[in-house]
């Protein structure tokens, strides 16, 4: 029981990170119908920016307290957003409205570029970072087993919930959100009605990248070890989460992220760590066989 509770806490905090990345996938998919394969690498870049920011702040003696963490988060979000914007501008916008596979290949190319760019500029070695937010509270004790709810996990859950709340308001209540949803429904019609679709799509990438930056920063704080390759697996998992939840559905992305996080954690805890990825992917495949558009995805009606 205590063991399961601990896994639940771990699973939810991991799932939140996946969920944040998955939202970026699902937003881009919803609005321009493409798999932004480089999104996982945007996440990886954000973790590196956060790492550099942490070191910079420590050099200035400022890396202390919640304000410093907030500052790191803001720096990482801002610069990663710029990466997201540039990515769309350079690799996707010229391909808008063309053949479906072209942006996908371009995205895979960008993913290779970003990975190797970080490898060249930051080196291939793993970067370890001392834990910045140590400690936690003891939730319950069962014999020798102590259920620990660490501060960093609390931070992840709290920050994710706040960010997602702000994001939900942004999408449902603001003119920008309305423009995004309009573009999602019918981009040409939205353009005819005076919506600047290029700007809306750019902003979608900016928002998606900043959410990934939140995830990247949280990942760095939680695990403390990053390298240039973390983006691939996190990206694939998050994309799996987005598809599991029903790609195009924002609540679905968060739900899918949580599910993947929980599946992985529980599978590792009770069965085998080695096959945790197999478990996540198999559940995806099984879900899609019964629900071909994911858990919360709109059922596609075939127009004949």
């Amino acid at each position: 029981m205590a063991y399961a509770l601990q896994q639940l806490i771990n699973g939810i905090s991991l799932g939140m990170i996946y969920g944040l990345i998955a939202v970026g996938y699902t937003m881009v998919y919803g609005i321009i119908g493409m798999i932004n394969f480089a999104h996982g690498d945007i996440f990886m870049i954000s973790a590196f920016i956060a790492l550099i920011a942490v070191i910079l702040l420590s050099l200035g003696g400022l890396m202390d307290g919640p304000a410093a963490i907030l500052l790191v988060l803001v720096i990482s979000m801002a610069i990663t957003a710029l990466y997201g914007w540039t990515l769309e501008r350079v690799a996707y916008r010229p391909l808008r409205g063309s053949f479906r596979l072209a942006p996908l290949i371009s995205a895979i190319g960008m993913s290779i570029v970003l990975q190797n760019y970080v490898q060249v500029s930051q080196g291939a070695r793993v970067k370890p970072l001392e834990p910045l937010v140590p400690g936690g509270i003891e939730v319950m004790r069962d014999g020798a087993f102590v259920v620990q709810f660490s501060y960093i996990q609390m931070l992840i859950i709290a920050v994710t919930l706040v960010v997602l709340a702000v994001f939900t308001i942004l999408v449902t209540r603001t003119p920008l959100g309305r423009a995004m949803r309009a573009c999602e429904q019918d981009r040409r019609m939205a353009a005819l009605l005076g919506i600047d679709t290029d700007r809306t799509i750019s902003l979608t990438f900016v928002i998606g990248a900043s959410l990934a930056a939140v995830a990247g920063t949280m990942y760095l704080l939680r695990y403390g070890v990053i390298d240039f390759y973390i983006g691939f697996l996190a990206g694939v998992k998050a994309f799996t989460a987005a598809v599991l939840g029903g790609i195009g559905s924002l609540p679905g992305a968060v739900l899918g992220g949580l599910l993947i996080g929980l599946i992985e954690t529980f599978w590792s805890a009770y069965f085998s760590v080695q096959y945790k990825d197999v478990a996540a992917f198999s559940i995806l495949a099984i879900t899609l066989i019964f629900l071909p558009t994911g858990l919360l995805g709109r059922q596609e009606v075939e127009k004949v």
Partner: protein
């Protein structure tokens, strides 16, 4: 655009570049001997990069205009020329490939590159059946390559079977797995299919890593038997029973390389031949029809599931053949050779070459893989350039190098069909 506006535009681009590069290039994190992290500053590099962006952007807007970056799907003078040359181009390439080992100056290194390129040509042609003809987006093709390679390695290791028996078995096993995977997932659409195939590729790799008792885990399998010339081994001793001894030749290590070269050449040609034949058959036409309009296919009584499965299985089979070849050539395989990036590269070859175009795929494999090898001295920059090349080619030619389709049959004459009419599949 006026020069002043162009300069301002380029300045903005340089400013963006500064924002991008300041932290990641300007400050390098390194691990100190004590295990802590410290930063090294490299502002000169940042300045250089910003300068390049400024100059590049300025050059682009001033001299080429914005038109240069607009993708073109229509035939350009280059492709029209290629098409006119096409009739001679493909046979010329074939002839060059055929005599390559005997061209003076072609050594072992060049032949090795030739073998590598031909392996990717074959993989590209195999995937072309799935993606180019049937329009099914498969992001896990490398799984079948891995299944073929491990099938040969394990069958040879455990049962002592020879390469020539294992080769068809490897293809059959890969096709079998193609059917197993395809059966439940082929009714999924587009990107759902893509992610499930990607997941399948990853599952296979994870299983290969973790099932150490069978596959040797991350250490892989070594000592895989090298191919024999239909029973005659390529040994350096030159005895009676060896290739050199049998034909009365001076034993030479290049015999095996040349043999491997012709082996993959033959396998690739087999793939091409089967594809070309199938395209002119009802099955191949049904694949293309499926890519064009699945609903119309259903209304004509075509069993969509079986048709998709056949494409998947045949594509997988050629992947399996290529895998068995890879295993015998390397004599060593490990899961590291079968990562997602391999799938991505093969898919990129198919798309860059032009979906469905056999010649295009061959050219793309030559350019991408050959080019990649030629730029060996770029070292760690090589992959960066490779990825950037993918982006640039896609931006300039989203429908690939050869963006046309040739009809399979005609009453009077076969006229080439522009790609703007040809579908790309939703599956």
């Amino acid at each position: 655009m006026t020069p002043a506006a162009a300069v301002r535009d380029a300045a903005i681009a340089a400013l963006v570049a500064f924002g991008l590069f300041a932290m990641l290039v300007g400050l390098r994190t390194d691990v100190s001997p004590t295990g802590g992290l410290f930063l090294r500053q490299r502002w000169a590099d940042v300045a250089l990069l910003c300068g390049i962006v400024f100059a590049g952007r300025l050059a682009l807007t001033l001299w080429l205009g914005r038109r240069a970056l607009r993708p073109s799907t229509g035939p350009t003078p280059l492709t029209l020329q290629l098409q006119r040359l096409g009739r001679f181009f493909a046979p010329a390439m074939l002839a060059a490939a055929l005599v390559l080992p005997f061209i003076p100056g072609i050594g072992r290194y060049e032949l090795d590159i030739g073998i590598l390129v031909l392996t990717y040509v074959m993989l590209g042609w195999g995937l072309n059946i799935v993606v180019g003809l049937a329009g099914l987006l498969d992001l896990g093709y490398v799984a079948f390559y891995a299944i073929g390679a491990y099938s040969y390695a394990l069958l040879a290791q455990y049962f002592g079977l020879s390469f020539w028996i294992c080769l068809p078995l490897a293809g059959i096993l890969a096709a079998f797995w193609g059917v197993i995977l395809g059966f439940p997932v082929l009714r999924l659409r587009g990107d759902y299919l893509a992610i499930v195939t990607l997941a399948f590729g990853e599952i296979i790799r994870v299983v290969l890593i973790n099932w150490a008792s069978l596959t040797g885990g991350p250490n892989g399998i070594s000592g895989i038997p090298r191919p024999t010339f239909f029973g005659l081994p390529f040994s350096m001793s030159g005895g009676e029973g060896s290739f050199a001894g049998f034909f009365g030749l001076e034993p030479s290590p290049s015999h095996r390389v040349i043999f491997l070269y012709y082996l993959i050449f033959f396998l690739a040609l087999l793939t091409n031949w089967v594809t070309i034949r199938l395209r002119r058959q009802p099955l191949g036409r049904a694949w293309e029809a499926l890519r064009e309009d699945e609903i119309a296919c259903r209304s004509l009584g075509i069993n969509i599931r079986d048709t998709k499965l056949s494409a998947f299985a045949i594509g997988a089979m050629f992947g399996g053949f290529a895998g068995a070849f890879f295993a015998t050539r390397q004599a060593f395989i490990s899961p590291e050779s079968f990562t997602f990036i391999e799938s991505a590269i093969i898919l990129a070859i198919v798309v860059l070459g032009g979906l469905g175009s056999q010649v295009g795929v061959a050219v793309a494999a030559l350019v991408m893989i050959g080019g990649f090898e030629v730029f060996r001295n770029l070292e760690e920059w090589r992959m960066l350039v490779f990825g950037a090349a993918m982006v640039v080619i896609m931006v300039l030619r989203p429908r690939g190098l050869i963006g046309t389709r040739t009809p399979t049959i005609a009453l009077k004459e076969k006229r080439i069909i522009g790609k703007d009419l040809v579908g790309e599949g939703r599956g």
